[in-house]
Symmetry: C2
Subunit: 149 residues, 2 copies
């Protein structure tokens, strides 16, 4: 996603208002690599601005998604996660702790579906399921660290 300053500009140019809530969320999302859920973001936001509404977090994330500034991820059946990284990338998902990481996948864009006649591909998504480094370290016990859920 754009920098908070650039987002503010983008918002203003669309006739939207700049509110402390939005500014805060822009900041929290910027270069956030944890793929937070709305709830995780809400908790972080609440720390900085007690009283902010979960509704507002959903609202703002929805706007950002609509503007194409963030992407939505739905790997497991749980809550939607938000990804500010707009570069061409894919994801690794730890089935132990639920953490999601960004990865590059060489050759991903040249993959083609075989057996779907007439299907026009817009976008390719690759998801690797497995175990992350931290969880592999702590094999037996509980997950290395709980993901934001």
């Amino acid at each position: 996603m754009k920098s908070p300053a650039a987002l503010i500009e983008a918002y203003r140019s669309e006739g939207r208002k700049i509110t402390p809530q939005r500014t805060l969320i822009f900041g929290l999302m910027h270069e956030n690599t944890t793929h937070p859920t709305a709830d995780a973001l809400y908790e972080a936001a609440s720390r900085a601005m007690p009283g902010i509404s979960l509704r507002t977090v959903y609202q703002t994330l929805g706007e950002l998604a609509e503007m194409g500034e963030i992407r939505l991820i739905n790997c497991d059946g749980g809550a939607t996660r938000f990804d500010p990284n707009l570069e061409d990338h894919h994801h690794v998902v730890c089935s132990r702790c639920g953490a999601i990481g960004d990865v590059e996948v060489r050759g991903a864009s040249s993959l083609r579906p075989v057996g779907a006649r007439g299907f026009a591909v817009d976008e390719v998504g690759v998801v690797f399921h497995g175990t992350c480094a931290s969880c592999r370290g702590a094999r037996k016990g509980s997950p290395a660290q709980q993901a934001n859920r």
Copy 2:
């Protein structure tokens, strides 16, 4: 997934009982390529056996998933879909009508995540988002055909 007859055998060998409800669901899932949701399956089941409970459908699908006879799919944020196809395959998702199709993807298994040090990959999933043949035919109007949702 196995044939209904083989599933009945598998159930019996685990000390589970063979009930009309289970037999029905086995039959509805067998070689079903529509990736139905629990609700879609429930509706189909209700037609054949009025009074069957949605709870039972969820229950049975859960058992099948646990036994590894079907796979769960979560491409969009919506309801979980169930896939009886256990072969190595991937999916195309029509962003217009929501339909999901099975496809082969050459080279998918040799994909590697770059930039996730120490991540042990168990499974790779490739999802193509785009527009299916039917929806491309009926470009302007409503989706070619509503997916089971």
